[in-house]
């Protein structure tokens, strides 16, 4: 462990060639393939894609929460330079909830319905510091609830999850994730199940907290508008791989990958009411029947013959990469 300490990296988290497979009757199928990702302390990064693109599996792989028959099969997961694939189960548990935390999609399901909020909060502290004074732990929980904007935090500690609204429950989950001041938070569509107004509040809250504390935040979502409000950099995932990566504004203004372009065009525009919404034709392929070569080619409007060859993520400029044989020309007017 001491060797890891000396090699602390500049990144809060770095993924190198992550591959996660699910073992089935016909052998292992990869849900996530060769994903590289790096995030600095205090940075907010978006991980965008449709359902089934592998973004949630990526998040769970980082946390070591992939259940059988799934498993991380290749690559390195470096949290502050320490490879999580090489550490013991005990060490991994001590990092989870302490140095890295995760928030899930459905706030109605993430809290245990039969346990009081204080029980569920205090255990997140005592799991990492068993000898802590109960009153100290309780006060930290109360302060955390207050910090995420829950009124009467002292009193609310004694409440049960069903006594909170969905938005409030997600705030509780965020407070729990923040309790131990982690270096990394993975938020898996945390606002998808909420009202738009609550969504905006929670996004603003998270942005502020991560900035104040220097927490790295990976925001997993299918919603580009959320990414646009929140993140500095964005990774676009399709069929288990990153297909495009770059600074948010660049990617939104000049998408290089036809899939990214399709996602952007699918956002309802307010300047043209009544017009038909754009949709990307077809569906994400199932993980056991991936197309050859570029996995997007069956749905791509610009498909050419050489798209059947395998294609790697290629750097196009200092900050941008794309996995496409025929990236859209920069500056070319779309639609």
């Amino acid at each position: 462990m001491t060797t890891n300490m000396t090699s602390r990296s500049d990144y809060a988290l770095e993924l190198r060639g992550l591959e996660t497979v699910f073992d089935g009757d016909k052998g292992a199928v990869a849900a996530v393939r060769n994903v590289n990702l790096a995030i600095k302390p205090g940075e907010i990064v978006g991980l965008v894609g449709e359902s089934g693109s592998g973004k949630s599996v990526t998040g769970l792989s980082i946390m070591g929460l992939i259940d059988r028959p799934g498993r991380v099969s290749k690559g390195e997961i470096l949290l502050n330079g320490e490879d999580l694939r090489k550490v013991s189960a005990k060490r991994l548990r001590s990092l989870r909830g302490d140095r890295m935390a995760m928030i899930f999609q459905d706030p109605m399901m993430t809290l245990n319905p039969v346990l009081r909020i204080d029980t569920q909060m205090i255990e997140a502290i005592t799991a990492h510091d068993p000898r802590i004074d109960k009153t100290v732990a309780r006060n930290r929980c109360r302060d955390a609830l207050g910090m995420v904007g829950i009124p009467d935090p002292e009193e609310r500690l004694y409440a049960y999850p069903h006594q909170f609204s969905g938005g409030m429950r997600q705030r509780v989950a965020i407070a729990i994730a923040m309790l131990n001041n982690p270096d990394l938070i993975i938020a898996d569509e945390p606002t998808t199940a909420l009202d738009v107004t609550i969504q905006a509040q929670i996004i603003a809250e998270m942005q502020k907290l991560c900035k104040e504390r220097g927490t790295a935040l990976i925001w997993i979502t299918h919603d580009l508008t959320v990414v646009a409000e929140l993140t500095q950099r964005v990774y676009v995932m399709y069929a288990g791989s990153v297909v495009e990566e770059g600074p948010l504004d660049d990617v939104l203004d000049n998408p290089l990958h036809p899939y990214t372009q399709g996602l952007i065009r699918s956002i309802p525009a307010d300047n043209d009411p009544g017009s038909r919404l754009f949709q990307i034709p077809g569906m994400t392929p199932p993980i056991d029947r991936m197309p050859k070569g570029c996995r997007f080619h069956p749905r791509c409007p610009y498909v050419q013959l050489d798209c059947l060859n395998d294609i790697e993520l290629t750097q196009t400029s200092a900050a941008r990469s794309v996995r496409c044989a025929h990236p859209i020309n920069q500056g070319e007017q779309v639609s």
Binding site: L65, G97, F104, M109, T110, N112, R116
Partner: protein, 325 residues
């Protein structure tokens, strides 16, 4: 809370009234107890005298009215067969049955919950498959056959446990109990295990289903993401959620245990209520049948009430609705 209890009490009284009418009329229609009780050589005159003495010459509603008046003052009538208060007969036998039923329930929970947790945590391991195979046997083998096999093995072949009776009892608060003496324990073990076999299987299956469902849940995943130890996840997060369906079924099954201990009591000659009610039915001993059923209904009601109250302890979403909260 008080309003809630009063309402439940009213419902119970209504149930008792309806049940007693149905049973009274039912037993009346089935036949005349005098035919069963009187010796074959009795003269018609003796027979008529007996009928008058027992009040059976009156119309059924008059007979019921007498019964109801008695019942309201706590007298459910004398047994035709023993000519003693029916209620007294039942109370004499009840401790034995209750002791057997609760021992069986205890065994069901003590074995069923841990085995169910093991089977739910690692469903594909050999020990889990073994547990599930056992639970299928426990469900499908008839109680009487298992009871006989137990006697054959432990009492006849191995000769380590007695085959019948209650053994030595001690009085606890005036109630004779077997479980506090070694001899009594050795007597109750086989019948309790026999009666518990089905319950163990049931509790295993319920617990396993609850555990495997809870393990898939988001709150368990979130607890893992918090770094909570696996031990705490299983014994707090998972088990507390599993208890909710378990309490429902165990409550219902406790009533069934008391009511259906008959078979086990017969095989092990356990001097409980089961034997009494079987005899009462064959001799059409109406007061005993009625008293037994009324006691059973009361017990079911009390058990259901306890189950409902226990819910509020386990599941915070359940509130006792008494109109006053």
């Amino acid at each position: 809370m008080t309003a809630y209890l009063l309402r439940r009490g009213g419902q119970t009284l209504l149930t008792l009234l309806v049940m007693s009418i149905l049973v009274f009329v039912g037993v009346y229609l089935v036949g005349n107890p005098v035919d069963v009780m009187i010796s074959a050589t009795a003269t018609p005159q003796e027979r008529a005298e007996l009928i008058v003495r027992m009040g059976l010459d009156q119309p059924v509603w008059v007979q019921y009215w007498h019964f109801l008046k008695g019942a309201l003052s706590g007298d459910l009538g004398n047994s035709f067969l023993y000519n003693r208060p029916a209620l007294g007969l039942i109370f004499e036998r009840m401790p034995a049955t209750l002791e057997l039923a609760f021992s069986a329930l205890f065994l069901g929970l003590v074995f069923g919950i841990p085995l169910g947790v093991i089977a739910g945590l690692r469903p594909s391991k050999p020990e889990s498959r073994g547990i599930m195979a056992f639970s299928i046997l426990g469900f499908s083998l008839p109680t009487f056959w298992v009871g006989l096999m137990m006697i054959l093995l432990f009492a006849v072949k191995l000769d380590i446990l007695p085959a019948s009776g209650r053994g030595e009892t001690v009085n606890v608060l005036g109630v004779p109990l077997s479980i506090f003496t070694t001899d009594g324990l050795s007597h109750i073990f086989l019948p309790a295990l026999n009666l518990a076999l089905f319950k163990i299987s049931l509790v295993i299956r319920l617990t396993r289903a609850g555990v495997s469902e809870a393990l898939q849940s988001e709150y368990v995943r979130f607890a893992r993401a918090k770094g909570v130890s696996e031990w705490r996840i299983v014994f707090l997060h998972v088990l507390k959620n599993t208890l909710i369906p378990l309490i429902t079924v165990v409550g219902l099954e406790l009533g069934a245990l008391i009511a259906f201990a008959v078979v086990t009591e017969t095989i092990f000659s356990w001097p409980g209520m089961g034997k009494l009610i079987i005899d009462a039915i064959t001799t059409l001993d109406r007061p005993v049948i009625l008293a037994y059923l009324m006691i059973t209904v009361l017990m079911f009601t009390v058990i259901n009430l306890i189950v409902d109250l226990t819910y509020t302890l386990v599941d915070p979403r359940v509130k006792i609705d008494g109109g006053s909260e």
